[in-house]
Amino acid sequence: MIYKLQFADLLPYWDVLARGFVFTVALTVVSTMAGVLVGTLGACARTFGPRWLAGLLGAYVELIRNTPFLVQLFFVYFGLPAAGLKLTETQAAFIAMTINLGAYSTEIIRAGSEATPKGVIEAGVSLAMTRLQVLRHVVLKPAFQKVWPALASQIIIVMLGSSVVSQISAEDLTYAANFIQSRNFRAFESYFVVALAYLLLAVLTRAILRALGSRLFPKA
């Protein structure tokens, strides 16, 4: 038996696909920014903060890195409302992704910032910089420069992982594929096309992040 693939059956649903694509891009962009911000603050607090805070952040990082994103998402979407915090699907997806990327980027950025020699920090202090200026110009900038490729890889992993937000009915690319195949019964074609869309997104994200990295943190 030979099955003929029918990609044309997807065409009527191009708008559903486009909406899903935009949703996934928007969700990735927003939670990347929030997640990297969390990671930056987390890395600073873990390196320079008080012991108890560093310990707490260490537990956060390990807890997130050693549990599946799907369970984290369910915990946020189903668990938090039970504890009194009502969330929409989109909010839950955003929060779960931010928490997830926040943990990974805390660890990644910390690895970069801890490598700052003590003497270089002292040089900044001696030049009358404030603690914040030292942190920003002397510690974080070179740290980001060093770990940018690792951070970019992690962002792509989180973007691909975001496909499970369809499981709480957030209307992303995967949700679009589910929707389309439930209408036209072309399951394989739908998932194949959406998989290619993710691949395109991954390639684009990598290129954009690389360009952004060489703009923001020019290499020595």
Binding site: P117, S126, L127, A128, V138
Partner: protein
């Protein structure tokens, strides 16, 4: 009133008292060379002057500001006191020019153009204008240290602290750095140097301080002191150093 006055300063690390009451006045334009064995407390003393270490007792005044004083803005103080380190401590992610202009830009809020102008002037002063776009990893140790000096000078300090700035250098690179310091001394810059370069201390210094076991053991005019040390310890130290 001296530009820097150090009075009866004490400092301990745990049970180990490294400064046991050090007093030292430094006048404007002085070139003070502090010598002594490792562990005699000379680097710690220098680091106390701009507050990288906090002293336990006594007082340090710089240009009318008390180091570590409750009312003192330490950043204001550090703007007047430059520091050059043994290990250069350049910012590895910035070019030579970037290293020199960072503090003027973020601390002094200087515009990009003016900071660049100032930075190039300072690099020219240490003879490295053509290396402006080189990163620290592309420079020799001597060149890195000269950039570090330019970086400190860009803040227009009233005094410059030099903490064994030639100790990490290969012997053939020492002189290019010392020549820069000598030039600064000639321009009336106030310098406090912790150094192992005895000839330099003797020839360029206006004042020699010999530290021993956490105290100023002997001080005076360099040439006189080298010619006729008063104590056995200094005599021994000079003998060992010039061998």
């Amino acid at each position: 009133m001296p530009l820097v006055s150090i009075v009866d300063v004490r400092k301990s690390f745990g049970a180990n008292e490294v400064l046991k009451g050090v007093s030292l006045p430094v006048e404007k334009g002085d070139v003070v060379a502090i010598i002594g064995r490792s562990g005699s407390g000379k680097s710690t003393l220098l680091r106390c002057v701009n507050g990288l270490e906090t002293h336990d007792a006594g007082s340090i005044m710089v240009d009318g500001l008390e180091v570590g004083g409750a009312k003192t803005d330490m950043r204001a103080l550090r703007r007047h006191v430059g520091m050059v380190f043994q290990q250069f401590n350049l910012f590895p992610h910035l070019t030579a020019l970037g290293n020199v202009t960072l503090a003027p830009r973020v601390v002094e809020k200087m515009g990009e153009g003016r900071a660049r102008e100032l930075g190039l002037e300072m690099l020219a002063k240490v003879g490295l204008a053509e290396k402006r776009d080189a990163y620290p990893s592309q420079l020799s140790g001597g060149q890195q240290q000269r950039v570090a000096i330019a970086r400190a000078l860009a803040m227009r300090p009233k005094a410059l602290l030099c903490d064994e700035i030639t100790s990490a250098l290969d012997p053939e690179l020492v002189n290019e750095v010392l020549r820069v310091v000598e030039k600064l001394a000639g321009e009336d810059m106030t310098l406090i140097l912790v150094t192992h370069e005895m000839r330099f201390a003797r020839d360029v210094g206006t004042k020699l301080v010999f530290m021993h076991q956490g105290r100023v053991h002997e001080q005076g005019a360099p040439k006189a002191l080298f010619a006729a040390p008063q104590t056995a310890e200094l005599q021994q130290f000079i003998g060992a150093s010039f061998k």
